[in-house]
């Protein structure tokens, strides 16, 4: 999935904090779009750490690529092995 969230998109109102995840399978493994992200604390090919208002999301995998989209959304594409969450204020 490669969806760009635009300001005129009415469905934007349904996305609630702290974050929103939508994922689907692709040829390269998995495509995951996460909304409600306020920052990236760590990025490498095997580990991505994202910051949201409610905590951190740690994505572990192989050959993972990051795409920054509009409206505080990111897309992660690659062989995602695990998604972990840490709760707290950022």
């Amino acid at each position: 999935m490669n969806r760009t969230y635009k300001k005129t998109d009415k469905s934007n109102g349904l996305i609630k904090p702290p974050f929103y995840i939508e994922a689907c399978r692709t040829a390269a493994g998995m495509s995951m779009v996460i909304s409600g992200i306020i920052g990236v604390s760590d990025y490498c090919e095997e580990n991505i750490e994202l910051l949201s208002h409610g905590g951190r999301i740690i994505i572990v995998g192989k050959f993972i690529k990051l795409k920054l989209l509009e409206l505080n959304s990111v897309e992660i594409v690659g062989k995602i092995i695990g998604v972990n969450f840490k709760y707290g204020k950022n």
Partner: protein, 388 residues
């Protein structure tokens, strides 16, 4: 790989170390700038976003490339005028060549060869090299139908620069007319055979696969069964049978030969743009059985372009008739050639299963035979009438 819009409108590659990368991603995310982060730490960003991100990333150490993609390439060209002129010339050349007929493809012909169809089309003013814009296809189709009686329908379609010619030969239409006149008919065997396949379209099958039938045996009956409504019909269907046959050829050792051949010109015609001018004609009674040779001389310019006039010369070959004898080798060669052509003619629409050839000398010549087993359609339509 960069996306297609980045390639067209231009993009830049920003490189930073892994510590700064996360910071850059956070800043761009908060600013709502879209970009792609590669696993090796490079960020691909559209050129339109780069200008606004320069101010945001002023406190961070990074390196950026020149504008990439088609836009970047255009900006880097030194002599832009030459490139634009070359592009314009290419477009004009492409449009001009699109207007030409590059290929003609024929479909629907079986008796008439492709070369003959192309010759007929050329004679009516259409062919490879013509301009589509100056071609009136309807008129050409009409001329072909008027001038060529062997074609009953023709259609020329344009797909790009290729002309697709679909035609219907006159023989097919005649066949269809004959079938329509028959009211009631059975299908009987045209040869002794073993039934390989039977498909009934109308009527009732009288044999099944594996049955041995003789010539004239009923295969599909025109009498419909009661469960199909009863009554009579014109039986229709396909019956394929396996036939075993022997094809023999005998060649006499003695043959007649024309010796002291002399070519005598009978007529000379000059054809200019399909207009025939008769230059010379010898009016005399030609001997029965003499050979006639037609010679056509085509003129071309430097061997490349064919000029629109031809010279047609007819010769009669006269000579003395004498008796000769074939040698053993010649006898076998002639016999085998005749057997090959006879076998090819017989098996034209058949599937050959096996073939065995044997030959022997006779008192006055040589006899050679082919024992062939082949499959072929064996159904023969036999009309019948009701007794009044």
């Amino acid at each position: 790989m960069a996306k297609i819009d980045s390639i067209i409108f231009g993009y830049r590659v920003i490189s930073a170390n892994s510590r700064e990368l996360a910071k850059i991603c956070s800043i761009l995310l908060r600013a709502g700038i879209s970009c792609e982060v590669k696993p090796d730490g490079r960020i691909l960003m559209r050129e339109k976003y780069f200008k606004s991100s320069v101010a945001l990333l002023k406190d961070i150490q990074y390196t950026s490339s020149d504008v990439m993609g088609i836009t970047g390439w255009i900006k880097r060209i030194n002599n832009k005028a030459a490139v634009i002129i070359a592009i314009i010339i290419s477009i004009i050349a492409a449009l001009w060549t699109y207007n030409l007929v590059w290929d003609v493809r024929i479909d629907g012909n079986s008796e008439i060869t492709d070369a003959a169809v192309i010759r007929i089309i050329n004679e009516n003013g259409f062919g490879v090299g013509n301009l589509w814009s100056k071609t009136n296809i309807d008129e050409i189709e009409k001329n072909i139908l008027e001038n060529c009686k062997a074609i009953s329908w023709i259609n020329i379609n344009r797909r790009g620069t290729v002309a697709y010619v679909t035609l219907l030969e006159n023989d097919q239409k005649d066949g269809m007319d004959n079938t329509e006149k028959i009211k009631y008919a059975n299908i009987v065997a045209s040869n002794d055979c073993v039934i390989e396949e039977i498909t009934v379209l109308r009527g009732k099958a009288a044999v099944k696969v594996g049955d041995t039938v003789k010539k004239g045996d009923l295969l599909i009956s025109g009498v419909l069964p009661d469960e199909a409504g009863g009554g009579l019909c014109c039986a229709e269907g396909t019956v394929v049978g396996k036939i075993s046959e022997e094809i023999s050829v005998y060649v006499d050792r003695e043959y007649t030969e024309l010796t002291d051949k002399k070519e005598v010109i009978c007529s000379v015609d000059l054809k200019i743009f399909n207009f025939c001018v008769n230059i010379f004609k010898k009016h005399r009674n030609l001997d029965a059985g003499c050979d006639i040779i037609k010679e056509i001389n085509i003129f071309s310019l430097f061997g490349k372009r064919v000029l629109p006039f031809e010279l047609h010369i007819d010769y009669a070959v006269n000579g003395n008739v004498s008796q000769s004898l074939y040698s053993d080798r010649e006898l076998i060669s002639v016999a085998c050639d005749r057997l090959t052509s006879e076998t090819a003619r017989k098996l034209r629409d058949c599937d050959l299963i096996s073939i065995r050839t044997y030959g022997d000398y006779t008192e006055n010549g040589y006899s050679v035979s082919n024992k062939v087993v082949f499959t072929s359609e064996v159904g023969l339509c036999l009309p019948f009438e009701l007794e009044k």
